[in-house]
């Protein structure tokens, strides 16, 4: 864990007393009182039930949502000050079902951000090869396929390759493995956690799966009804005395035949 102590003090992402509410209805809070520092190299897992505001926090980081109250700083600059296009090109984004472009081949999907950034063709092609190898797909076999010719797990691998292609310092992942069957999910989680330890990325990972959070996180932040209720390393997290933490930890234990 914490593989990069030298740079750990630098905050890449910071929330300062952020609140977000639907359009013009300040009483309808989605998230509130959010203060959070995410140092370089951290893999922060935002854990919470559906509707707890996890995805909202993610979209506040890449400027897809702007905070009506408080500031979100990315690389020491408020998201409201960033040019949204420049901000997002420096942040990889992976979502459930991958969101690959169905009319692009695997190679074109992975090459998306490098192409937008006007990399020359040989550099882009080399990068695509490198990325596909990184996520365990043989370019000779997969580069020219369309997303519909891939399995769910392969699509998700391509999604990760696409997000990493332009080498962004930050990676946002919104339940990337949520739609996969349990066996494929476990396989991708294992590979991804190994990958994370090799890459020097700051990752914010959204999930409602405690098992996934424990496996991947250097720190777990638990959200409940739009507020942070706990923040701990995976080891500490299991020992926390909080009702919502217990609700999640009890979801881990299985007694076979208990309901028979």
């Amino acid at each position: 864990m914490n593989a990069k102590p030298a740079s750990i003090s630098e905050n890449l992402i910071e929330f300062r007393d952020v609140a977000y509410h639907i359009n013009d209805i300040p009483t309808r809070m989605i998230v509130s009182d959010i203060s959070l520092r995410i140092p370089r190299g951290e893999t922060l897992v935002l854990l919470g039930r559906s509707g707890s505001g996890k995805t909202t926090l993610l979209k506040l980081i890449n400027g897809m949502l702007l905070p009506p109250k408080g500031v979100v700083l990315v690389q020491n600059c408020a998201t409201t000050e960033w040019n949204p296009i420049r901000l997002r090109r420096g942040i990889g984004y992976v979502i459930q079902e991958a969101g690959l472009f169905p009319h692009f081949t695997v190679a074109e999907n992975v090459a998306l951000v490098p192409t937008l950034e006007n990399w020359d063709a040989p550099r882009t092609a080399a990068r695509v090869q490198e990325m596909l190898h990184l996520v365990g797909l043989d370019p000779r076999d997969f580069a020219h396929r369309l997303p519909r010719e891939l399995s769910g797990g392969q699509r998700q691998r391509v999604g990760v390759a696409r997000a990493l292609a332009a080498d962004p310092p930050i990676l946002l992942m919104d339940e990337p493995f949520g739609a996969l069957d349990p066996v494929t999910r476990a396989e991708l989680q294992r590979e991804f956690s190994a990958l994370v330890r090799r890459l020097d990325k700051t990752i914010v990972f959204v999930t409602h799966d405690l098992r996934e959070a424990l496996l991947l996180a250097s720190r777990i932040v638990l959200l409940q009804a739009g507020r942070i209720v706990a923040s701990a390393t995976p080891q500490e997290f299991l020992r926390l005395d909080h009702a919502e933490v217990r609700a999640f930890t009890s979801s881990l234990s299985v007694s076979p035949g208990a309901f028979v």
Binding site: R88, A98, G99, F101, P102, V113, R148, R162
Partner: protein
């Protein structure tokens, strides 16, 4: 005289009327596409304008075609007797399916695809031209196909205001109570519609993704 001998005897005239008809349809469709597709792109992000544009286009569709040709005759510049008026009316008819399908095609895209496009730092116009438009192409083409078939049919009525085409035979046939004349107009018109349907349908299937 049987319709077949009539058609064979007058094949030169019928062929030139078919060509006239075809030209009328191609010009009207070209204009309708040039108006309908960009307008459809424009109204995607503008709900008020969308209601107005789709509403007006729907109203034109409800006007009986012969009446629409009649209404246009007295209008200065676009009206009068002849091809120009016919083309205006045909464009108005073709507009709705093209406009509606462009809008539906552009908005009916998987939200996850649009979300990742935005999150990857694509600009609004990059999303439109590189993602939305290519993915909407098959649906837009389906609208163009519908509009083309409508236009081929409606264009037969354009003969009533002196625009020529295959309708000339049909109107003459109705006046003279001659099946042979009516069929001399109707059969080529039906064939044109079938061929257009087949070719555009083929193109549409080629463009369909997923």
């Amino acid at each position: 005289m049987s319709p077949w001998t009539f058609i064979l005897d007058h094949r030169g005239e019928i062929l030139s009327a078919t060509l006239d008809h075809f030209t009328l349809v191609v010009i009207a469709m070209a204009i309708a596409i040039l108006i309908g597709v960009p307008l459809g792109m424009f109204i995607v992000q503008r709900p008020t304008l969308r209601t107005i544009a789709l509403g007006i286009a729907s109203i034109f569709q409800t006007i009986p075609s012969l009446a629409l040709f009649g209404f246009l005759i007295p209008i200065p510049f676009i009206g009068g007797i002849g091809k120009r008026t016919a083309i205006v009316a045909l464009v108005l008819y073709a507009l709705l399916p093209i406009l509606r399908n462009t809008y539906v095609g552009l908005t009916g895209i998987d939200p996850a695809v649009l979300e990742s496009a935005e999150a990857m730092g694509m600009t609004r116009s990059q999303i439109l031209f590189r993602v939305r438009l290519p993915l909407a192409l098959a649906v837009i083409l389906a609208g163009i196909r519908t509009a083309t078939i409508i236009t081929i049919g409606v264009a037969t009525i354009a003969a009533a205001i002196g625009a020529g085409g295959l309708g000339t035979f049909i109107f003459r046939g109705v006046a003279l109570v001659s099946d042979a004349l009516i069929l001399a107009g109707a059969i080529p018109a039906a064939l044109l519609a079938l061929i257009a349907d087949f070719l555009l349908g083929f193109l549409e299937r080629r463009l369909r993704i997923s």
